[in-house]
Subunit: 455 residues, 2 copies
């Protein structure tokens, strides 16, 4: 089904021509929420789809932090892309790293193939790019080793290793001052991920590990949640932020708002107020959940198309999510900034529902164009905003209704189980959560992997 | 509860005196099957127990290979040691690497503590050492990078990465010869682990991945199982070995018996017959499951006690599992060779049931000695031997009854679920197995971690 064409002395060794040449060739880059929805919605259309990702699985991003806290095991929130589309003969999955785009020749340039091969070019008739985003560290990549994020499974497992090792270290630490530093945890960024993570660390210290140790009292652990804005969950209505802050404080989390991180090293985080006053927080375990920067694919697309990038590295796309001058190229999700017909930025949050709706829209747009129709502009339907804080505690802002407490928490549980891929993962996560709720335990608190922190 | 005593200018910075000094201090080294049973059986006795392990979890070793095949997620077969004993105030868990023993002063020497500390000495009145074993690579440690084992979670995840990446590599490989090499898998060692692993790889190729790829036919994969003895499962009766071999062949596994591995590199395994004829098997994915060597703790104990080590590095212990001249020190499991009163070796297989029975025996022996009784010699009750080959296929040798097929497989399932620690893990594994059985899928086939193989 694949014909390889050697193209002379170009650095690209091969051109991959995918399946039958008569059908529209759609290439989707990225198997996250946006890309997955695009492929799902397109798979019954008369098109040949190639889904390209660096990883062989779709990761349920909103629950990665629960791997970091040992609440879930990594396999339970990831689904192999191939198995999702195994019954769709017109969907092909290709592992590799997209290094660039040749918009003139309509080819996606790939590298680092699983067989060690380099330089593959995948031709397309329609292209959907959904590269997502990563944490920015405010340009301080040197902080990353001291403050891993909870974006990938690998970094979540590293965070889990650090959190659990910190309690173990405190248990054998003879010096009381150093013990306190081992028992101090700093989470940077009080968006939903930061809030949920801080709440879970507090619950681990207070409930899960309380009877596990013989020397330390894990309840003495200090969890600090640093946020640049003037409140936690700044994207929520102020009333819900206040409720979330109270719930966090009750759990033992200290929110520290209006503070910018200005330094991180192996033993501390330094924060500064708007007035420039700095404070050094001694802590051995720091987790990063702040500052989002668009995927480098936005830069690659911009270089080819002449589109603008905003400060978060996002590429500007039109109301129909296409690149200016390239109706055959759609970009979506965290890596784009949608502009209306007047060129004004349409504010959209960097959330999974936005990417999912845009993915489905992209599929419809490709289908419309195949039939000679012009798609209507993308419109985001805000279905609400959810964040959980701890056991039976959450906040929800659903079309103006503000919920908190048990009802919000049950909504959160239901929504997350619903959007997980596959019945098996839903069942496994449901069992984990049930046990965590009943026993206050975290079943998967393993210290694995090799230490990457100098201790 | 812990008093630290600085002992002058010795390299050991600290002596840890555990809990009340009046009660018998029992130190158990190793949280595997043997150590865990010893602590479980002793925890209601009037003793203070310190359980020392490098890892913070008990690993259910017989199922680690299922993590390597993506059938299970790593958290599902591991249980945090602290949570197992959280309700036992007299049990203390200590993470660290045992570097040696001071039998004269009755202290266990520890290093690599979680806080980065070095040199801790843990005093004991009774000592139980259950260090287990690892794969030997027949002395060829240089083969390890090319042929990881399935002993630890980390190496199992590396094997999983290699198996799955091999299929991905074959999918994009244009050269038919190289594609064949990517689709060749060699498992070294046809004991239960090797047989089960080879069978699972065959099932993955034949059933699980069959519809996942668009270019390759995964059913063309070749799985070779290399064994030094003259049959697979050499510890089973010959009739069951023959049945296992037939079942393997039906699945597409080629057993290659009476072959010794004489070389492994990045692209091949070289095997030799007894006559010295060599054959090179081109393969990109090799998994090691042969040759067992005792934990280095056996060497450390031998150095102190003058006990003998056998060729597998195991230390000789008496009929009551104690070191000669040290009735207060018991060693057990894969790291010991039991000698009868005449000094003859008692042949015992290197299986979990042996370690578990010895662990329980050790607890009883400590208890007996506390009450001034002399324990009877250890006697192994052979409850049988099980190995699964694939879907509804297994062999069982239970007190002379030889089973194969569905009944043996159900026995295998039941026994493994029964011995898993904790209701939660049992439920999770049961769900995984049910889904695998019904869908022929492997839910956790994720390629994670960084490549350690040059590709």
């Amino acid at each position: 089904m694949i014909a390889a064409v050697h193209i002379g002395a170009t650095p690209l060794g091969l051109v991959l021509s995918v399946m039958s040449a008569e059908r529209e060739r759609v290439v989707v880059v990225g198997g996250g929420f946006g890309g997955l929805q695009a492929v799902r919605k397109l798979r019954r259309a008369p098109v040949d789809i190639t889904l390209i990702d660096r990883r062989n699985f779709h990761l349920f991003q909103p629950l990665v932090y629960q791997v970091a806290t040992g609440a879930l095991s990594s396999g339970e929130i990831a689904s192999p892309l191939r198995s999702i589309f195994k019954r769709n003969e017109n969907v092909r999955v290709l592992l590799g790293e997209v290094t660039g785009f040749d918009l003139a020749e309509r080819r996606v340039l790939l590298d680092r193939l699983p067989n060690g091969g380099e330089g593959l070019a995948v031709p397309y008739d329609s292209l959907i790019v959904a590269g997502g985003s990563s944490y920015s560290y405010f340009g301080h990549e040197d902080w990353r080793p001291f403050a891993p994020d909870v974006k990938s499974l690998e970094s979540a497992l590293e965070v889990r290793r650090r959190i659990l090792t910190a309690f173990e270290a405190a248990e054998v630490e003879q010096d009381p001052a150093r013990r306190t530093v081992w028992l101090t945890f700093v989470v940077v960024g009080a968006g939903p991920t930061g809030v949920e993570l801080a709440g879970q660390i507090a619950e681990i210290a207070r409930d899960t590990l309380h009877r596990d140790f013989r020397t330390i009292d894990t309840r003495a652990a200090r969890i600090v949640l640093v946020e640049m804005a003037d409140r936690v969950l700044p994207l929520f209505p102020p009333g819900l932020s206040a409720r979330a802050a109270r719930a966090l404080e009750k759990l033992g989390v200290t929110p520290l708002v209006e503070r910018t991180v200005v330094g991180i090293d192996q033993h501390s985080v330094t924060v500064a107020t708007a007035e420039g006053e700095t404070e050094r927080l001694p802590a051995r375990t720091v987790v990063w959940a702040a500052g989002v920067i668009a995927s480098e694919l936005a830069t690659a697309l911009a270089a080819e198309s002449g589109s603008e990038l905003d400060r978060a590295g996002r590429i500007a796309v039109g109301p129909d999510l296409t690149l200016p001058g390239h109706p055959e190229v759609i970009a979506l999700g965290d890596m784009v900034q949608v502009r209306d017909t007047d060129g004004n930025a349409v504010p959209l949050p960097g959330l999974a529902p936005v990417a999912m709706q845009q993915g489905r829209y992209a599929a419809r747009a490709v289908n419309d164009r195949l039939r000679g129709k012009e798609p209507p502009p993308f419109r985001y339907r805000d279905k609400g905003n959810l964040a959980t804080i701890g056991r039976a505690k959450a906040v929800a802002d659903i079309k103006g209704f503000q919920l908190s407490g048990l009802l919000a928490w049950l909504t959160w549980l239901f929504v997350h189980l619903f959007y997980l891929i596959g019945l098996q993962n839903r069942l496994l996560v449901f069992i984990r959560w049930t046990f965590s709720f009943v026993t206050r335990g975290r079943g998967s608190r393993l210290i694995t992997g090799r230490p990457t922190r100098a201790e």
